[in-house]
């Protein structure tokens, strides 16, 4: 796009897309901001006028707020650690030549295609049910008392379910990265006397850095807003109420749109803090 003319033509052609995207983003954002300053109770009188910063102080002052932030961060952190560690191991295993490679790879990817609601239901009823669940059978088989997963180990259970869903994504991205590693480099390291662990630490891990960064960034965006898994399993009870679930409760269960919107603004701020934090620690991997 060298000439003046082609530049302005390009701008003109891009305009519709840019305007559409801006509107897409700006309209809900403005509406959220607008409602967050109103006292708006749909079933109890509707829009009751300006509320100032009332909604903000009430939302943050509620006893559920800080635990919900903590729950959100624990789920995001837990799932990230599990998916990346297991993802790397799986990627290294899947990269080995083996019989039935194609089918195994498809099976590994499969959980990603299951809808979150469905997978949460399957986990809840088939695996974690304390009476009929598969885990309960295993526990009973060994003579132990079945664990009531969703109430006794609710946080771990949700992290497990969400990790199961996101593991394929992490594995897929990491597998392509593992496959792009030059095999002569590994052979050179082998001749240099590097053990498998040294090769992993000095060659494979640095090579995977960029892929890990991408997995962390993309998963964080989606994990901050997980909802269906919590709705279906614990309904926000037993300390699994995340920020997005708290907002849902304020808006739909308490029918307080103003309060929920203020929560939405806090969620945006939290997401940005996490994003900036992540960019700081891992973003430099994307420059190289």
């Amino acid at each position: 796009m060298a000439t003046q003319q082609s530049r302005s033509a390009a701008r003109l052609m891009m305009a519709p897309a840019v305007i559409l995207l801006l509107g897409w983003m700006l309209v809900p954002l403005t509406m959220t901001l607008w409602f967050s300053f109103r006292k708006y109770l749909p079933l109890r009188g509707g829009d009751l006028g300006w509320a100032g910063f009332d909604n903000y102080t009430r939302f943050i002052g509620s006893s559920a707020f800080w635990p919900s932030v903590q729950a959100t961060l624990v789920i995001v952190g837990g799932v990230l650690i599990i998916t990346i560690v297991l993802g790397i191991i799986l990627a290294l295993l899947l990269d080995q030549p083996m019989w039935g490679q194609g089918i195994v790879r498809i099976l590994v990817i499969a959980p990603f295609f299951v809808m979150p609601t469905v997978s949460a239901l399957v986990w809840k009823n088939m695996f974690m049910d304390p009476v009929n669940g598969l885990f309960a059978y295993v526990w009973k088989f060994f003579g132990a008392t079945p664990v009531e997963w969703l109430s006794q180990a609710s946080m771990q259970s949700i992290v497990m379910i969400v990790s199961w869903q996101w593991l394929p994504f992490a594995t897929l991205i990491l597998l392509t990265a593992v496959q792009s590693l030059d095999s002569e480099q590994l052979e050179a390291a082998e001749m240099d006397g590097a053990s498998f662990m040294s090769r992993f630490w000095y060659l494979i891990l640095p090579h995977l850095a960029r892929a890990i960064t991408i997995v962390v960034l993309i998963q964080t965006i989606f994990l901050l807003s997980i909802f269906a898994e919590i709705f279906v399993t614990t309904g926000g009870a037993f300390g699994t109420k995340t920020l997005s679930y708290l907002i849902f409760q304020r808006v739909l269960e308490s029918q307080n749109v103003g309060l929920g919107s203020a929560g939405g603004v806090y969620a945006i701020i939290l997401a940005n803090i996490v994003a900036i934090f992540l960019m700081r620690i891992v973003g430099k991997n994307l420059d190289a």
Partner: protein
């Protein structure tokens, strides 16, 4: 210390036998070149010696002790790969340091060796750069540096110069030869380029479809090739092969004569032909001559030779330089 003995070594990938059983003796301090056309198994043979591939059968001895099942690291050999295989996220210093670090060497001693190697290879100014910031020739030198600091008992090179441009290739060739003279360590060098083989080797191993065709010094291969394949592969431009009456006259199925062993004459000679393209290099003149029976003969005359396109000339082979082959292509 760096003698290597291959005993009945063979290698198959699945059903395909890439290296049929072969024996080879490599003496301490020798510069051995494996040469042959692409796909003839040179890299495979080198990787068998390095321990990067398992033998299908046979045994490998290094310095007199059996190394058939030893891991690559245990064999004490260093390899320079065609793609250089440098570690991209490490500086040049860390790349060269890597084998020393893996061996658990004291950092002070390691730094001394790195600095010495960097000096020999003209890398001192680049020690803090990443491989991505170096030119092809410099990367090649880093790969060599990484090999020499280990003080291996033998170096293995797999077509190390094929990614460099022609001028650099000639330079690096000299540097590697120089290195061999100073270190006096065994080197095994793989190439498909017979010029590299002829200029560098103490001993050339000519491979063809996994078989060793001939082993010998460059001059032995040039002067007395054992068969037609070696005769045609070694020497540039290629040897001319002639069959028919001229071969019958000399009691052979076919005869070979190198381009530099033909005498050109304007009025008399054994073969009559028409000059095609001629290449004037100043020091030499290459003529492509079409004989009356349609076959092409390359002629190399030293100095400048005036020959016009389409001109009729006569060629005669120098009798003592004629190679005679039987129907199987073996030298008589």
């Amino acid at each position: 210390m760096g003698s290597i003995t291959l005993k009945k070594v063979s290698k198959s990938f699945g059903d395909v036998e890439v290296i049929p059983p072969l024996d080879l003796e490599i003496n301490d301090g020798e510069f051995v070149v494996f040469v042959g056309p692409s796909g003839c198994g040179k890299s495979t043979l080198l990787r068998l010696i390095a321990g990067l591939e398992d033998l299908t059968s046979g045994a490998i001895e290094i310095d007199g002790s059996d190394a058939t099942d030893a891991t690559p690291a245990k064999r004490g050999l260093a390899m320079v790969f065609q793609s250089y295989a440098l570690y991209p996220h490490m500086s040049v210093r860390k790349n060269i340091n890597f084998p020393l670090k893996m061996a658990g060497m004291d950092p002070a001693e390691a730094n001394k060796r790195i600095d010495a190697a960097a000096k020999v290879l003209n890398l001192t100014d680049y020690l803090d750069r990443r491989p991505g910031q170096l030119s092809g020739g410099q990367r090649q030198r880093v790969a060599i540096g990484r090999a020499i600091v280990r003080e291996p008992s033998a170096f293995l090179f797999d077509e190390p110069l094929s990614n460099l441009d022609a001028a650099l290739r000639v330079n690096m060739r000299l540097e590697i030869c120089d290195l061999h003279k100073t270190l006096a360590t065994t080197m095994i060098y793989v190439t498909h380029d017979q010029v590299e083989a002829m200029t560098m080797a103490d001993k050339i191993v000519v491979l063809h479809d996994g078989y060793i065709e001939q082993v010998g010094s460059p001059l032995e291969l040039y002067e007395s090739p054992v068969n037609k394949f070696v005769a045609g592969f070694i020497g540039s431009p290629k040897m001319n092969f002639v069959s028919g009456a001229s071969a019958k006259k000399r009691d052979a199925d076919s005869i070979g004569i190198r381009p530099e062993h033909l005498t050109v004459s304007a009025d008399a000679g054994e073969w009559e032909g028409i000059v095609g393209v001629s290449e004037h290099l100043g020091s030499d003149t290459f003529l492509h001559v079409k004989l009356s029976d349609g076959s092409m003969i390359n002629v190399r005359a030293s100095g400048e030779l005036k020959a016009a396109y389409g001109q009729k000339i006569f060629l005669s082979p120098q009798e003592d330089k004629v190679h005679r082959f039987d129907a199987q292509g073996l030298t008589i």
